[in-house]
Symmetry: C2
Amino acid sequence: MAIRIGIIGYGNLARGVESEIRRCPDMELKGVFTRRDPSSVKIKTEGVPVFSVSDLKDKTADFDIMINCGGSATDLPVTTPEYAALYNVIDSFDTHAKIPEHFKAVDDASKSANKVSIISAGWDPGMFSLQRLYSNCILPEGNDYTFWGKGVSQGHSDAIRRIPGVKNGKQYTIPVPAALDAVRSGSNPELTTRQKHTRECFVVAEEGADKALIEKTIKEMPNYFADYDTTVHFISEEEFAANHSKLNHGGFVFRSGTTGLNGEHKHIIEYSLKLDSNPEFTASVILAYARAAFRLYEKGDYGCKTVFDIAPALLSPLSGDELRAKML
Amino acid sequence: MAIRIGIIGYGNLARGVESEIRRCPDMELKGVFTRRDPSSVKIKTEGVPVFSVSDLKDKTADFDIMINCGGSATDLPVTTPEYAALYNVIDSFDTHAKIPEHFKAVDDASKSANKVSIISAGWDPGMFSLQRLYSNCILPEGNDYTFWGKGVSQGHSDAIRRIPGVKNGKQYTIPVPAALDAVRSGSNPELTTRQKHTRECFVVAEEGADKALIEKTIKEMPNYFADYDTTVHFISEEEFAANHSKLNHGGFVFRSGTTGLNGEHKHIIEYSLKLDSNPEFTASVILAYARAAFRLYEKGDYGCKTVFDIAPALLSPLSGDELRAKML
């Protein structure tokens, strides 16, 4: 019997789950739940029904795992605990500072309902967190470095689009090559915000807008841009559509540590991702953890988990014997 | 109470465990066991006794975890199952093809004794295996690439030293930069053995030895060198001592995969290690897994495990709350 998967939402991440579930022969997409009128949502998988989120309370017998594809800012903190009282739920909650309170709310709901939930599955938090944890455990003496990009930052692109006179905008976060090289050298540099990343913005201005003012507004925006070397390019709508519609991203996690009786030996652990599609990769991570959640549920190991709590073998469709023979 | 650690053997790996345990405040080295006369073995930690391996059967109350630092070829297959009947044991068994049978023997011994064992902890097998597993679960459609080096291959260095006329020898395995670049490009190249690695040998010849014959013997040696582009340098004993006494190593694990409804998006996951000291890094991995083994033992989760079976949080001295707040 395939693991019966439901998707809540139908944005970029949900569409990623829809495409990547086709690469998981042990899973089956059984339905998509939307806040809109279900008849207005056309999905890409034939024969799979679209329901209203108001139907969620009546479908608990039909799904093994629900994947909550809402946004982290306002949606997931409310809906994941709510759905966790009904289903085994996975989300990709990515507001790092609020993970402890989100965990608590979801854990309480899952434990009361004898269900399993996994929060913050994706690549950061997610795969990057795992690399930080493993490498900190292996090299207790050392420094961590995380770089993001080159890739599209949704939050920074939104901030640009809110500026008066801006018709469209996209922001790329770019790690500074010299900073990457310094970390790779093992010199354990102390790097300021400005030394680690640059920001590059592509902006379509409204007809007659004051471009100099838009550029100044972007570059001086606190938190988002003021601490970075930022470049602003004004381009046409056509160029924007042709060259800036992708959702690529990626980044680097380093641990630079020392061993030896006198700390005389250096070690560099480097992990990097180059992703053509941020939402499809995130969806792929979520599906691997959906498999683990289903197994934990079958074992009766209820409550909220994160990537830190899941033994890697639980992510694989292969048996322990197969994994040891093929991948160890 | 600190976790009481014992070391079996006193070669490079054991000395690495001895130095790295100082970075684990929750552990204490309680003894070293040797096959030699214990009075002939001087260790670097004051106040820690050296015992004979024949004392192992009488010391079971004094140690929580034994780290078996024997060699994979002939020692570990015999001794890890033997010690697993007495102690919670960790080893770094690295003969990939024989892992299934080693696992079975150690698992049987550990389960009969209600103990926990972890085999093949290190970086390959170990951290590299974990990267292969995680990235295969996330990107089911794709190719794996593992490269080793630049680093010292003990097995190949030994093979050189067995050639008549060779006084000393060291072999470096070196990944081919063009092959790394091809993999990073996402082109999913098919690479032959020769295209992936080169081998560089530094040889001290006996006085009057036939260097041309030594070089030919190395380059034509089946399995070890014949399938590779191999370079042989003859050097003096002084140069050998000055420049080739290190035990550095490292390597790269890649997963190059695709997502999307038509496989239109490429993703590259790259993990790499640059290690000044192969044995100290391996020891560091082993110690993190010793912590996990102790916790599993306390929970009564007996039997043999590998890195695939261990939830990452078990490796850390931090609590779940701390990990979620600081590293997720």
